[in-house]
Subunit: 196 residues, 2 copies
């Protein structure tokens, strides 16, 4: 049994989801396919050119406080990023490389930690290189692979696949033909996968 | 200890919330103040003139399926309303009367049941009269009270109060100075109220 976990590095609620999905899935005996994608094309579909949390300040104020409460309850460090949303094309491409090579979860968790616990600019190649080095990877080799055409195409195809599955926000889980949206639907998604 | 439960009769996720809030709150030893309000002014603040679930069809498709799953898990009957969203000014005014007189929860649950389980037009005075009669109330007397100026003013003041508290969607709970949004935050809101 396996689920697809769709996430975008700028997405705030994807942070706690990324930090707990593997633990929850392991407890349920379900495999997780980490599926990095980009939310921009989905927002464009909704005629948004910025995060809805910036477009609607009243929702944004609520979200930051809600996220703070969720992180506190989960025991996750949290520092509100000084820039939101951050550019995520580069880390999404590196995560695509990582998914092909089998080290996507640890890389992705490190990127979320950098963005939401350490206020680091995850759009900056130097920050990504630093994260890669910390994971024992060769930054120059990985960054070169991430910018090559096959990876660009693969990430684009992932965005198209997500849209085809009805994904419109992050995090999302697709499990046995069903779509679940939000950090607060991980448990239901896993229960669905288990029942299917 | 008490919380404020803010709800709008057209709001889909307010349906399961309204059906379970009293049970959850009783188990936690917390009182619930039922606070009917209107979502229209909040949506207008976000430049929306229709439900976001209609404005963004991809979100709407997800929401209806998600709601169906939630109702199934809760053992709640569900039939997708043939009209969405329905006019809710009249039931919101009647609920305001009911809140003053101490029968708001049962009236509100009956309105949600009519809208989301029986596909009845809750904007129709005849449907509201029918619900009132079923609760042993005098429909003509209640409808007259609901359309009188003091109740109109009271409902308008409730909308202003909600906006002042940062409410932007329904259902919402305000508890000990904190705002919680969504059927999936009821448990956290009650835990917060209990801790405060």
């Amino acid at each position: 049994m396996a689920i697809d976990f769709w996430y975008e590095f700028a997405s705030t609620y994807s942070y706690p989801a990324a930090m707990r999905i593997d633990r929850l899935a392991a407890a349920a005996g379900i495999d997780v396919r980490w599926r990095p994608f980009l939310l921009g094309p989905m927002l464009a579909q909704q005629n948004l050119t910025d995060s809805p949390f910036n477009v609607f300040p009243v929702k944004g104020r609520y979200m930051w406080r809600d996220l703070e409460r969720i992180c506190a309850a989960e025991g996750l460090p949290f520092r509100r990023p000084s820039q939101f949303p951050r550019r995520t094309l580069l880390p999404a491409r590196v995560a695509t490389v990582a998914a092909n090579e089998g080290w996507c979860p640890e890389f992705s968790r490190a990127v979320y930690d950098a963005n939401f616990a350490r206020d680091r600019d995850i759009g900056d190649p130097a920050v990504i290189a630093d994260i890669l080095a910390g994971l024992g990877r060769d930054p120059a080799a990985v960054l070169a692979a991430a910018q090559a055409q096959p990876i660009k195409d693969q990430l684009k195809a992932a965005v198209d696949e997500a849209m085809g599955l009805g994904v419109f926000g992050a995090p999302s889980v697709t499990a046995a033909g069903e779509l679940f949206w939000g950090n607060d639907r991980l448990e239901q998604a896993l229960a669905w996968a288990k029942r299917a």
